[in-house]
């Protein structure tokens, strides 16, 4: 694991990359890393995130910058998802809607080396049209495949120098799963402590899943968030 500044951390994100972006709404959204990705300018991205941006900052800013070709998410439509809504209606961004639990489980499968799995979620719905189905023990399932990222951008509360992460309340959400599913995982954190500074029993994401850490500071994180809700 290396500690970098945000611009250096995202410098090698390639055009056309699949980028997993943590967060449930703005809770757990890595604003600092997304801002750096906007400055970096990588284009034609496929972004996997639960929502499709709120207000005009964070993921919404990345969308507004025209860098996203395709969104894979569970719930794009929100009261303040106007940036996405306009792009979608104008045909400027593609959308794949995935049930939230299948979204999480597909990334879990990618990180866990599972080739495919049968899930009951979505069976009999339009979101399972064309997919393989099977009845197992009297229950109907849909076959779903892993969802991998080239890069994951996530936000955590704290890292240690071994790359271990802990999170903060429901801002944890997709972060730990995405960390396992990407070739390169980049975490923004409030602070970085020495190895041993996080209780080994309380580590949520082991350092093996974390490639780069950006220490943002709690103040900057709160400022970024307030920018987000402004």
């Amino acid at each position: 694991m290396r500690v970098l500044d945000a611009d250096a951390a995202v410098a090698d994100v390639a055009d056309g990359a699949t980028v997993l972006i943590g967060g449930f709404g703005t809770a757990g959204m890595p604003f600092t890393l997304i801002d750096a990705l906007v400055r970096h300018g990588a284009r034609d991205l496929t972004v996997v995130s639960n929502n499709a941006g709120n207000g005009s900052t964070g993921l919404a800013a990345l969308l507004a910058a025209g860098q996203v070709r395709r969104m894979i998410c569970s719930f794009p439509r929100q009261v303040d998802s106007y940036v996405f809504d306009d792009l979608y209606r104008a045909g400027k961004v593609e959308l794949e809607v995935v049930p939230q639990g299948n979204l999480a489980e597909r990334m879990r499968a990618a990180g866990a080396g599972i080739g495919a799995f049968f899930t009951p979620t979505g069976y009999g719905t339009v979101l399972a049209e064309g997919k393989e189905t099977r009845e197992i023990d009297g229950r109907a399932y849909v076959l779903e495949y892993p969802l991998r990222g080239d890069v994951a951008l996530i936000a955590a509360r704290r890292a240690d120098t071994a790359g271990n992460l802990v999170f903060h309340k429901t801002a944890r959400n997709f972060g730990p799963v995405m960390a396992t599913a990407a070739t390169t995982t980049i975490a923004e954190v409030d602070d970085v402590v020495d190895a041993g500074g996080i209780d080994p029993e309380a580590v949520v994401t082991p350092g093996i899943f974390v490639d780069r850490v950006v220490a943002v500071g709690a103040e900057q994180r709160i400022a970024a968030r307030e920018g987000a809700s402004a």
Binding site: F24, G25, T26, A27, G28, N50, S74, F75, P76, R77, Q78, D85, Y88, R89, L95, V97, V98, P99, Q100, G101, N102, L103, A104, E105, M107, R108, T119, P120, T121, G122, Y123, G124, T125, V126, L127, A140, F167, H168, K169, T170, A171, R172, N173, F174, G175, P176, V177, V204, R225, S229
Partner: protein, 228 residues
Amino acid sequence: MTTVESQLRTVEHADRGPLSRDEMAQAIARDIEPGSYVNLGIGQPTLVADHLDGDSGIVLHTENGMLGMGPVARGDAIDPDLVNAGKAPVTELPGSSYFHHADSFAMMRGGHLDVCVLGAFQVSQRGDLANWHTGAPDAIPAVGGAMDLAVGAKRVFVMMTLFAKDGSSKLVESLTYPVTGLACVSRVYTEHAVFDVGADGVVVRETHGTTVDALRERLPVQVRRLED
């Protein structure tokens, strides 16, 4: 709730009006056993929380990664990192726990929640649920956790008005809206009546401001009394 569960005959409360939204929430709360693990979805069903007895040991799950969710947060208690599935700030109760999304949805899909309460556009007589999409061609599709919740809990309760704004019944023979989940709903709470749905069809458990016979006139599905 013991009395409700062991109920043998349909009860007709014709000497009063339909249930208010709060009364519907109260009726659902009454039917949730002490000690249950419960997900209240988003929107109207979250009202149920206001009617749960604090001593009941009922634990609320929110699919964005928490058990032991407390009431909505106000003032200084607001933490933008502590939100419910509707993204409203909430609080934590003693004994709460946090977990990531894959674990949270594994918990749901694995059938560990006792009860989930959802809103609906339509419910079919066999318990099919439509609550995620109107099917309108210009609507941006958004499913969230609806399909996961529909198939995950041991019992899925629906809280909805019985009739749409155009007067049509939302309790239907077969769904015309896009499916959320098949044969997943076990009970439907409406302002006019509470129904059990499933493989045996529709059974009226109780009515409010109407009678079973009067409902039969307005509903496109066959309904039975508990004692039938």
